[in-house]
């Protein structure tokens, strides 16, 4: 747990005092990632660096796991905090192994212990220990270097980590991969992390909580979904962008929106049965066909049932796409646009049908958060046609 209590930094400049961080008080619960977000010069980095005293606080206190850190000696404090910076800062004169084991050596671990630890860490970041430990940083790509940077910060298993735009210098494709890997690691390690970013999408992806800074002040501190649906003021709103409702698509899983009310036909059903079901479910122009293990395999259009006779299996159209229960709504929306459809079947891990997701459900789900925050307005929840 990290708790900041009225943390303040005043820089003396020739033009007078500049308040870089103004009475920042916040708390990051155990095992969560808190992203500090804001435009440059807003005080987010200063706030982060006051925690490990790279920047000396003018006033205020930092508590780690409830303990006031002002009594600790600076080196001891830092050795118990993992630190990752944007420029990575691997020591070019040391091999990867020496880089990773810097902190264990400072802490006086014996040789066997830190050698074993180096190999553990390489496994953790999915890099081949034999191939990389003896190399030098200059022989690695940017993405590999940043993985090593993270491993170095994790070496002595610190409970708290500070990350200053750690993935900022990596190309977008590698960045997404490293973010995913990092989240996977974090799910197992449960570190308490402060993470500085200026990228809203990164903040939404990585953060359990997001703190928005402006001109040295903490403006809003809340969970990403809350932040996007209820920005506190005009600044936060404009910082999040006009498309903030779209950004929320990233946060919602198909699982949360899926409706299991879906009519289907089997391959052995006749077109007449299909027609009947289309009508009884009120679908506009098609119905989903599933095989004997309830895996979606095609659609039967209303026109076909009107003009043709026979069995469904002989008159199916191809399936546009299916979505998985764990996909986020951004992917769903993208698929809907790509296939010009307003609904998609949802499947579970075994590829079996477990419901459908419609454009209407999505807009309704996202919209309900906004509506619930405004003065009472009746929510119309009757007409939900599936299919189109």
């Amino acid at each position: 747990m990290i708790r900041l209590d009225n943390l303040t930094k005043v820089f003396d400049t020739p033009d007078g005092a500049v308040i870089a961080a103004d009475h920042i008080s916040m708390e990051v619960p155990q095992g969560e990632i808190c992203v500090l977000l804001g435009p440059s010069g807003c005080g987010k980095t200063t706030t982060l660096k006051m925690i490990n005293r790279i920047v000396r606080a003018t006033s205020g206190k930092v508590f780690l796991d409830g303990e006031d850190t002002s009594g600790l000696n600076t080196e001891d404090l830092r050795r118990n905090i993992g630190y990752v910076i944007q420029q990575i800062g691997l020591f070019p004169n040391m091999t990867i192994e020496e880089n990773i084991t810097v902190v264990p050596k400072l802490l006086g671990w014996d040789k066997n212990r830190y050698k074993v630890r180096a190999r553990e860490l390489m496994d953790m970041i999915a890099m081949d220990a034999e191939a990389f430990l003896k190399r030098y940083p200059s022989e690695l790509s940017g993405g590999q270097q940043q993985r090593i940077g993270v491993a170095r910060a994790l070496a002595a298993d610190p409970p708290v980590m500070l990350m200053d735009e750690p993935f900022g210098a990596i190309d977008p494709i590698n960045r997404a991969v490293i973010q995913d890997e990092f989240l996977k690691m974090q799910a197992a390690l449960k570190k308490t992390i402060m993470f500085v970013s200026h990228d809203i999408d990164e903040a939404i992806k990585m953060g359990d909580r997001i703190a928005i800074f402006r001109e040295g002040k903490l403006v809003q501190y809340s969970e990403p979904d809350e932040l996007l649906s209820a920005p506190k003021n005009a600044f936060v709103e404009s910082f999040l962008g006009e498309d903030r409702a779209l950004k929320r698509l990233n946060l919602v899983r198909v699982r949360d929106v899926v409706s299991d009310d879906i009519g289907t036909v089997d391959v052995t059903d006749t077109l007449a049965t299909a027609r009947e079901r289309i009508d009884s479910h009120g679908y506009r122009d098609a119905i989903l066909m599933v095989d004997d293990r309830r895996r979606p395999i095609g659609v039967i259009s209303r026109d076909t049932t009107a003009s043709q006779q026979g069995y469904c299996r002989d008159h199916t159209r191809g399936l546009p796409a299916v979505v998985h229960l764990d996909d986020d709504l951004r992917k769903v929306a993208s698929l809907m646009f790509a296939h010009d459809t307003t609904w998609l079947p949802c499947v579970d891990d075994h590829g079996r049908l477990c419901g459908q997701i419609t454009q209407r459900d999505m807009t309704h789900h996202l919209g309900s958060r906004y509506r619930s925050r405004r003065p009472a307005r009746p929510v119309v929840d009757g007409d939900r046609p599936a299919g189109s």
């Binding site: 490990n52 790279i54 600076t74 080196e75 001891d76 404090l77 830092r78 050795r79 118990n80 905090i81 630190y83 910076i85 420029q87 990575i88 800062g89 691997l90 020591f91 070019p92 004169n93 040391m94 091999t95 810097v102 902190v103 400072l106 030098y136 940083p137 200059s138 022989e139 170095r152 910060a153 500070l162």
Partner: protein, 244 residues
């Protein structure tokens, strides 16, 4: 030896030329003339090297800590102006330095070593300072953030990363030093300058060359030795000569 390219033809040509030069030197009696000075060359070369070794190592012992001291953040305010002062020092001709040191310390080995020491000091101190200052701030922040004390930062991060530049300074300084030692003869410290200057005064080309050629060879030899030490000591990750 089959000749496949221009460069191998040139090599072969050079070997033949050197051989012919040798034949000519032997035939004209030049080799015998040089051999006449051989005992002098041996004795004076050792003296020459001693002067370089003593003044050079004293300079390294003083200049490296001085450079380190100047690069510390606590005195960064004055470091630049001190560095300017040292730069002015390097512009004083070494002959003038020797003359000045003679006027204080008299003649003999002591003033020569002192003069050489001063001339060698500056390039090493400057390179140490510049090398340490050019270590990336990101590295320093990482080192501090991981919990290294200022001394650990200096020994494990700053010095290893500045070592290549420091050695470049030592190499330049020793080249200056060994090339300046002949002047030390003028204030009575001996060295190969004895043959060079006497040769000039007597208009004896062979005598002069018996001093000049070994001086050049010593300079090249010392340079190679320092380059070798650089290659071996500077960590592989920051050594341009050892990158794969």
């Amino acid at each position: 030896m089959p000749i496949r390219s221009l460069s191998s033809a040139l090599k072969l040509g050079a070997v033949i030329l050197i051989f012919l030069a040798g034949v000519w030197a032997q035939a004209s009696g030049l080799v015998d003339d040089f051999l006449f000075y051989w005992p002098d060359v041996k004795y004076l070369s050792v003296q020459h090297l001693w002067l370089t070794l003593i003044s050079g190592s004293l300079a390294i012992i003083v200049a490296v800590p001085l450079g380190i001291l100047l690069s510390r953040p606590s005195i960064s305010k004055w470091a630049e102006s001190l560095m300017q002062l040292l730069n002015i020092g390097t512009t004083i001709p070494t002959l003038a330095v020797l003359a000045l040191s003679m006027s204080f310390l008299g003649i003999g080995t002591l003033p020569a070593v002192f003069g050489l020491f001063v001339a060698t000091l500056l390039p090493i101190a400057r390179n140490t300072y510049v090398g340490l200052r050019s270590v990336s701030p990101a590295l320093m922040e990482a080192a501090a953030g991981l919990g290294m004390s200022p001394m650990q930062r200096l020994l494990r991060v700053e010095l290893p990363n500045a070592l290549y530049v420091i050695f470049a300074g030592i190499r330049t300084a020793l080249a200056i030093n060994i090339g300046t030692v002949p002047l030390a003869f003028l204030i009575g410290a001996g060295g190969l300058g004895e043959l060079i200057f006497t040769g000039i005064d007597l208009y004896d080309t062979v005598m002069m060359l018996s001093g000049a050629i070994p001086t050049a060879l010593l300079a090249v030899g010392v340079d190679i030795v320092v380059a070798l030490i650089t290659f071996l000591i500077v960590p592989r990750g920051v050594n341009p000569g050892r990158q794969r």
